[in-house]
Amino acid sequence: MWNPSKSVRLSSICTKIAIVLVICAAFAMPNLIPTYVNYTGKDPEIIHSLLLTVYACVLPGMLSLICLGRLLSNIRREEVFIEKNVKLLRVLSWCSFVVSAILFISGFYYILFVIIAVCAAFLGLILRVIKNVFEQAIVIKRENDFTI
């Protein structure tokens, strides 16, 4: 039977798979990007720019996945409304904004990136709202815990 515990475990497994995929992709990018450029018939001069964009996004991307992993492990330990999770959500939202900024700049040579940049910025905004909700939830929980 499906339950929240199994859902958290599945999310945790997916996060770990994503970390492995990002690492593999980072190593494979020097081969993948020229193949993509040749296949789509784009100007080969953008290969270096594409590589630069992808590698610039790897660091915030990995940091996001690590934060997600930690967030999920905290939830598995039933530590949901804690300051640590607020910090993790804050880092996650900033990572989204950084990726958004990188992709927005990259939009000058490859317009498709602008669309992803807007999506990343929107995701960062959603994460910021969730972070604010968590902050308030911690205050309410503290008050409940100290109501005798």
Binding site: R142, E143, F146, T147, I148
Partner: protein
């Protein structure tokens, strides 16, 4: 701020924290929070039990002190 004078009443009634917690039906940890003025609120049911066990009025336990900073 509201000050809980539970320790004063406990001393007057000569009752230990463990015994009081047992009689009220709350954990010693929660009683300690209440006794040390760290509680944010008290349920009427808990207050009723404390008054019943200590044979006192809520006013004997709770005191309002003007101008004192609230603990965060």
């Amino acid at each position: 701020m509201i000050v809980v004078n539970l320790d004063v009443m406990m001393a007057k009634r000569k009752i230990s924290a463990g015994e009081l917690a047992d009689k009220i039906g709350i954990t010693p940890a929660n009683l300690s929070i209440l006794k040390n003025n760290k509680a944010k609120a008290i349920r009427f049911s808990t207050l009723e039990q404390v008054c019943k066990v200590l044979n006192c009025q809520p006013g004997d336990l709770l005191e309002y002190r003007k101008g004192e900073q609230e603990d965060e």
